[in-house]
Point group: C2
Amino acid sequence: MSTTDSQLFAQRESVEQVEEGDVLAPKFDEHGLIAVVTTDAKSGELLMHGYMNAEALEKTIETGEAHYWSRSRQVLWHKGATSGLTQKIVEMRIDDDQDAVWLRVDVAGSGASCHVGYRSCFYREVPTGAAGSEPVKLTYREDEKTFDPQDVYGDVPNPTQL
Amino acid sequence: MSTTDSQLFAQRESVEQVEEGDVLAPKFDEHGLIAVVTTDAKSGELLMHGYMNAEALEKTIETGEAHYWSRSRQVLWHKGATSGLTQKIVEMRIDDDQDAVWLRVDVAGSGASCHVGYRSCFYREVPTGAAGSEPVKLTYREDEKTFDPQDVYGDVPNPTQL
């Protein structure tokens, strides 16, 4: 689906229209994707970073629940369809040049959003300001997983790719 | 610069190492970039979405100030070098599969991060749940610009691309 196939998206006509206008004219990259930042509406915590294609963006707008494009599985992905951890949109925003979307969500169930089992995908800190000559050591900022991925996902292939 | 050129980054060896390990092994895409989400450390507000190449990630780790790769200008971009609105890293995190970075920052000066003049790049809301057959109308969530882009950037080309 190209941008022009959706009745919900305007054509991108000028920098002024895109930046200062009041109409949705999203920019999809060469893979047909737009970046998505998802934060917890209550805590403000960053939960995940993902991508939508035009269909996922349409379905998110229409249903008020987060849909993504899974790059690893190459399918439309209704977040929570397997795990039950759906994301209800509290507020959706778009950035200046309309190539990134921000979702503020309420997560169902345990509130987790990471397939590894943590609440946030961003469970490790990267220290800054004192880099040496060795690979940087990460520090865990979540103490324990909120669920066991094996119980939830079973034999579904892990989406992480090397 | 490829991943292997930096002493700060480990080779990506296994899903377990990437997801459950304690060593930085970032994944750069086919353009050599990793996605970056930048939030205000105090308010939690999403300020911007950008990208880093390996050099920008190294410089951010080494200096504790946000560096990005400008896709429009194709240059290493020390945020704030032109505007004075530098971003000091309060905390930096990386996600499960290590292809996205989260910066929690203190912004110098007025605290703005958007080249259009707003505090956040995400100054417009996209309504959800009641899509019709017309392009979606956006709602402004910031009332006024924090600076005049013409004063700050002068004749620097606008980074937004159609």
